[in-house]
Symmetry: C2
Subunit: 300 residues, 2 copies
């Protein structure tokens, strides 16, 4: 089934205890698209500036990712982020960030994408998320991500968005900020009152938590002995989850659980190397194998 | 089978966002003993001072806990701890601590306990832990806990202890401190090199991690919407784990996994109320039921 992702596309410079990579491809939509493309064809919508080197997207060659929604905007500059995990592998320290094209209007969703049934609105301004959502014809499953910036500064618009999506993905700190609840289960229940049918709280190295009206589900992260670059882990997780969900057609709790496990496994590849190299190193067969290992590692 | 626990017995004053309890029973050996007594008869070894009110132990009435190793030491005072979770439910702030009897010699293990096959050396000075261990005849499974104080100040003695135990239980911060490895899987592997056949790293609200030579196992905490008092969660976890293990006779990875899940479930009762009230509110039948619910909540 058709899976659409809208989100950021960036040129990243990343420092971790394992080294430094300059001007590599990044951004929420890129990680999401690559991760979900192991499961289903993906439609990518995003904007870059005229400074963006064409060979930046070479890593997407051969993937089932339709880049016709990729806008090269004249007179604009590409989103750039320079982050460091040298001090703490669990939290990026932003050294410089230039929103550039991300601070402008939303990219246009191409007409041929408007009937997409599965939609992931990666983190951006909630007004833009709503605009993009409204332009879609009859999406079957809409999941969004958000961040502390919008929770603090665009609370009302974010609340409006939440009334119109099926699922929300956010991290633990954001969930606490949005709901003013310290306990994550309580926070998740509070998010459900705001509209979404399910909420997934990402806890980084501690895994994730999913709540729906009738179910609470917790998953540890895949036990990884070496984390090289955590950038994009959350977006890859969402990509694996949505990629799998879009092949299923139903959103029962058990389907969502399996999807979260796929998200967890896909993210474990992302963090094993810099930028997209971890995802490039794997295949659907390896993902399926690790998914079974992971399932086994938790069964008792 | 006979399960022996040595550790602290204390008079606690506890403050949490849910209220304050003064002069309630606490200490690692007490939580451990109560938690493990759902599974097997327990032998408790510990010391209190002459200030200890006799009715403090009333909560143990009717439990299969042999208190003949409980020493009422004349001229000594009972260990007292006053802690607060008002600021952070995940980390106790110690307001006052009086080691008292804990700073004296180790309690004597009664002759009739010396052939105990299953032993838990709850957190105390590693020299005392070694002394108590040496006095035992032929233990089949010895598991110890420790803390940052000994890791920092008694590193050599702790290392000596580690050579002679089967399992080590410690929290994430302690594991990182002991091994100087940030990644917890790497830290666990490092602990295995120090002697233990398996190591369990407790991550509080994020569950636990177990490593043995051939296995890595991760478990999330039981999803609890309301945590009233986290005191004793780690000792109850160890109690549930060891209580179950001592009924099994084998220590295969799959047995240890089931044991960790029992520890997780027992600890979920501990944190649901102050002091021992959470454990007092449950039964083996309820624990088994929750164990199955927990298993179900994670299966996919």
């Amino acid at each position: 089934m058709s899976l659409l992702v809208t989100g950021s596309i960036g040129i990243d410079t990343i420092e971790t205890p394992f080294g430094k990579r300059e001007a590599v491809i990044g951004g929420s939509a890129i990680y999401f698209a690559y991760a979900s493309s192991f499961f289903t064809p993906v439609r990518l919508v995003g904007a870059v500036g005229e400074d963006c080197p064409k060979d930046l997207f070479k890593v997407l060659d051969g993937r089932e990712i339709d880049v016709s929604g990729l806008e090269h905007r004249k007179g604009s500059k590409t989103f750039r982020w320079h982050g460091s995990y040298v001090k703490d592998m669990n939290e990026a320290q932003t050294i410089t960030v230039d929103l550039n094209v991300l601070a402008e209007q939303a990219p246009k969703i191409p007409a041929q994408f408007l009937e997409s049934k599965y939609v992931f609105l990666a983190n951006t301004h909630p007004v833009l998320q709503q605009e993009m959502l409204k332009s879609l014809k009859s999406p079957k499953l809409v999941v969004a991500d958000t961040m502390n910036l919008w929770i603090q500064n665009e609370h009302k618009e974010l609340k409006n968005l939440l009334k119109n999506i099926h699922g929300l993905v956010l991290n633990d700190g954001e969930a606490r900020m949005l709901t003013e609840k310290k306990n994550l289960i309580a926070a998740a229940r509070e998010v459900l009152k705001m509209g979404p049918k399910f909420v997934v709280i990402k806890k980084g190295e501690h895994g994730c938590l999913m709540c729906s009206a009738n179910d609470t589900f917790v998953l540890p992260a895949f036990p990884a002995e070496q984390v090289v670059d955590p950038t994009g882990a959350g977006d890859s997780f969402a990509g694996g989850m949505m990629g799998y969900l879009s092949t299923q057609g139903s959103f029962s709790s058990s389907t969502i659980k399996r999807a979260l496990a796929f998200g967890t496994v896909v993210a474990s590849y992302t963090i094993s190397d810099f930028s997209l190299a971890g995802l490039q190193s794997t295949t659907r067969e390896l993902i399926d194998q690790r998914w079974h290992d992971y399932k086994q590692a938790m069964s008792f």
